[in-house]
């Protein structure tokens, strides 16, 4: 009998979690509105806790990124409007967020938006930091490009320039 009740509760919980994921997929990154926070891999888990609260784990991309607070508020608004019941949003620091976690869909959207997605895995950080191989310009695909600045308009991006079409472009750093 109790097992049956448990399975029923479990179904309700599963539905709540699925609904929450769907709501989270609609939360945009404030700096790169083309991407959702799910595309960026910022949502670490969605779980129903024993007390019945839904817990959402969120990771910051960079520790000082001002978008972190905005994202947190957007998540709270989305979950509230979506009526998923009581919830709390937890900051998850470990393991540290990595650009490796940006989804394939996220990478495609970044490129369409004009930002070159991170092109190397951080598992080989030595190669990443050596940074010798050229990036393809997102507009004309030329490999004749150069880095202008290690840091761009947001902590997660570097500034590059294409010497063929002369357009500047941004690169999402590997971290």
């Amino acid at each position: 009998m109790s097992a049956v009740i448990f399975r029923g509760e479990e179904r309700v919980a599963t539905a709540r979690v699925a609904a929450a994921w769907q709501l989270l997929a609609s939360v945009e990154d404030p700096e790169i509105p083309a991407l959702s926070i799910v595309d960026l891999g910022l949502v670490r888990f969605v779980e129903v806790r024993p007390g019945g609260d839904l817990e959402v784990g969120l990771s910051p991309t960079y520790v000082g990124c001002p978008a972190t607070e905005v994202i947190r508020r957007s998540v709270q608004d989305a979950l509230r409007q979506g009526h998923v019941g009581n919830f709390k949003v937890t900051n998850v620091l470990s393991p540290a967020w990595s650009s490796d976690w940006i989804s394939a869909d996220g990478r495609r959207k970044l490129l369409e938006y004009g930002i070159v997605p991170p092109d190397q895995s951080v598992s080989n950080m030595r190669d990443v930091l050596r940074g010798t191989h050229p990036l393809a310009c997102p507009r004309c695909q030329s490999l004749d490009t150069e880095m202008v600045s290690e840091f761009g308009s947001t902590p997660c991006k570097a500034l590059h320039r294409c010497r063929a079409c002369l357009e500047p472009f941004e690169y999402f750093k590997c971290i």
Binding site: P60, Y62, G64, L93, V122, I175
Partner: protein, 258 residues
């Protein structure tokens, strides 16, 4: 929770975490002075972004310190309402920006220190510190790439740029000694597996710095005994001015919010 594994006095851990946080906070505040004044827009962005990362580290560390203390002080209370003598950063962080070259020299010295420190602290027996270190380490690698690239360009640049960064190095080098001189707190934390052995950090830092200085054609100054103890709350005259500016709003309008 993270206090459970290594048994250590909460007061000691509080001081130790504050030390780490204060180094990031004070250096971040210093770098912020460059905003709108850098030699080029790209460097404005670079220094501001590094400052932002450092303030981010400080927020995590001060928040944790406040929780350890358990007297209701959050990151803001700790940042805005402590007097100079209750700040525990090594005094290298508070040294003035000088010209762009001097700022870059200070940055290389501290970036390399933080990188070697955090890489080891990522294995701390204190889970919270380990997480903060592992996260920050990834960002500090980019800071060091930026600052060391610039140091090589300036050192191996014109006679003028070389002379300026060499004299900045001579000026700031004596302050690095404090970073690596272990006191009782450093020793205790190393014994408990919470912080790294500073001698080990020093050796790694030294090798890294030597490689950068060689490429930058700069001469490494000799170590000298030091007579200052920012880590104990004894600071140079510079910190007071930094705090006066940083704390002005909260002191004039207590509990003001955005």
């Amino acid at each position: 929770m993270s206090l459970a594994a290594p048994k250590v006095d909460a007061e000691a851990l509080f001081r130790y975490v504050l030390r780490l946080g204060d180094l990031s906070l004070v250096l971040g505040q210093r770098l912020g002075e460059w905003v709108g004044h850098s030699p080029a827009l790209e460097e404005d962005l670079g220094l501001a972004n590094i400052a932002l990362d450092l303030i981010g580290q400080a927020r995590l560390l001060l928040t944790y310190a406040g929780e350890i203390e358990g007297r209701g002080r959050d990151e803001d209370k700790l940042a805005y309402l402590r007097e100079q003598g209750a700040y525990f950063n090594a005094i290298l962080a508070e040294q003035p920006n000088g010209d762009f070259g001097q700022t870059i020299v200070r940055q290389v010295l501290i970036d390399a220190f933080q990188l070697e420190l955090y890489e080891r602290m990522a294995a701390s027996r204190d889970g919270r510190l380990a997480a903060i270190a592992a996260k920050s380490m990834k960002e500090v690698r980019y800071h060091l790439r930026y600052s060391s690239d610039w140091l090589v360009r300036l050192g191996d640049g014109t006679a003028e740029s070389h002379a300026r960064v060499q004299s900045a190095l001579d000026l700031l080098w004596p302050y690095t000694v404090e970073l690596f001189a272990p006191d009782d707190l450093d020793t205790l934390m190393a014994e408990r597996g919470i912080g790294p052995e500073l001698a080990e950090v020093h050796a790694a830092w030294s090798a890294r710095i030597d490689a950068i200085l060689t490429e930058a054609t700069l001469k490494r100054p000799a170590d000298r005994p030091h007579a200052w103890h920012g880590k104990r709350g004894q600071h140079s005259e510079h910190l007071g001015y930094i705090l006066a500016e940083m704390q002005h709003l909260q002191r004039s309008y207590p509990d003001a919010r955005w």
